[in-house]
Symmetry: C2
Subunit: 296 residues, 2 copies
Amino acid sequence: MNMRHLEIFLRVIEQGGFTKAALAMRLTQPTLSAAVRQLEESLETQLLNRLGREVVPTTAGRLLCGYARRIFALRQEALSELQALQAGEQGQLLLGGSTIPGTYILPQLVAGFSRDFPQIKVNLRLAATETIVSALREQLLELALVGGAVDDRRFDVIPCFGDELVVIVPLGHPWAGYENISEKELADVPMLLRERGSASRRAFELRLTEHGVDIPAERLIAEVGGNEALKQGVLAGLGVAVISKLAVVGEVNRRELVALPFAAGPLRRSFYLIQVKGFKLSVAAERFKALVLSRF
Amino acid sequence: MNMRHLEIFLRVIEQGGFTKAALAMRLTQPTLSAAVRQLEESLETQLLNRLGREVVPTTAGRLLCGYARRIFALRQEALSELQALQAGEQGQLLLGGSTIPGTYILPQLVAGFSRDFPQIKVNLRLAATETIVSALREQLLELALVGGAVDDRRFDVIPCFGDELVVIVPLGHPWAGYENISEKELADVPMLLRERGSASRRAFELRLTEHGVDIPAERLIAEVGGNEALKQGVLAGLGVAVISKLAVVGEVNRRELVALPFAAGPLRRSFYLIQVKGFKLSVAAERFKALVLSRF
DNA sequence: GCATATTCATCGATAAAACCTATAGCTAAT
DNA sequence: ATTAGCTATAGGTTTTATCGATGAATATGC
């Protein structure tokens, strides 16, 4: 029982004859005769009563007719939905972001996207880069903007946007009036750092190594698991910290914290737009990707 | 989009790969590759993400997958129902009968049939032979047992069962003790007859013509549109009547009426099992037909 | 890091089917 | 009885489905 046979069968019933149906389908009558015969043979049931003048379905034929109509309705519905999906008229965008880009970059982009495509539901998930990467592989996400470099050939990675790491100190700190801070000076003050594995910590440590600086363990006051906690620590006077400039724009403007660039030049780090290589993006995701790259 | 393509597509998703699905379907892997490619081309949408290790559906693929499953569920349901119909495990028997056979023959047959096949619903419709014939043509009925001969090549007519026409008189009537009544005697008494077109009236008039007897119009007290009314008329003493023996079995046994055969020999008339020629009977109807013929 | 194994895509050939033309056979209407 | 209209069948052609062999890409094991 294939679609073609069912379609021919339906048309013969609707048109009330093989010849009429053949005309309507732009086929010849023997083709329809053969198709219906094959259908009847495969079901081992007579489906149509061929009377001289008219062709009417048997009981079995009427039963099958109802099912065939439902099957074609489903097929039509599937085709319509696929087309709508293809045209981007509906759909869901499963988006991921690691902390910094997810907090300070993606929300604005998503806002713009939702304005342009209000019919697409956006689901933004924030988590550590590693978690995001796993979620991508498991198809829980389609696209993500993360702060950590992803060294995995199974992913397409596009550097995109970026950030500068700055040293933050509380307002009354001796460095508060400085223009910048040399890498060496950082070795001699109490410091708060993000946890190991954090992309910003890695970038910072790389910079120190480049300048031959090593932070003694006793200067490391705390390892903090989040940017908010890091800021709170600095505000409380526990020490200085290195953090994304984006994360302290508010505090700096409100003169609660002072952000100092590095003396050897700004410590930039890139964000990365990542997706699973070979994975076809949905139309929604494709559009979001285009938006991100155009804004960048 | 045909069933084969959908089936292959589903199996590839279920098995998680082309090769595995090919093995499960006893086909080769290139066949499945080609089928899915064609499906994708016809829909102008990528349905599967081919990663090195695994094959997973895209958003569009998941959407189609759901529809495909529903389509196959419908197909399966249709096949099951057709099989059940074929096996006679369910179904409806649309049966017709003209007055006499429908009242005195069919009910017993239907009772026996329902005992044998309780899962089949029987719908018995009683009407004049002409009405039954129309209903058969319009597929409102499949099979009927009628008293009138059907002279129409579009029908299969099987003579089946039969009846004897008798003269009935009330208990106190002068003829009540007679063995039989000659055709000539009938011309001289008040008579009640069924309406013109009734099969029993036709049979009776044919017999009179054969014996050169003609009933004068003044002897015809009434034309009555039903066998019950005919009996009531005779019971009321309006006259004598000719009626199916089957219709007066009760009254004769209760000694309310006396039934007299014709002197020239019993006036038999046949009933006919009719169906539209070329019309495939349902399994239920086929079984009923077999039952009728076996009881006959 | 390199060979091996696994997997999907592609190509050419063949088997199967879908389809067409011509025609026979049947029914219904003139 | 003849004709018109319809379906079934036969035989041949085109299209589609399938297979076997092979290549390219990716993961696995040493």
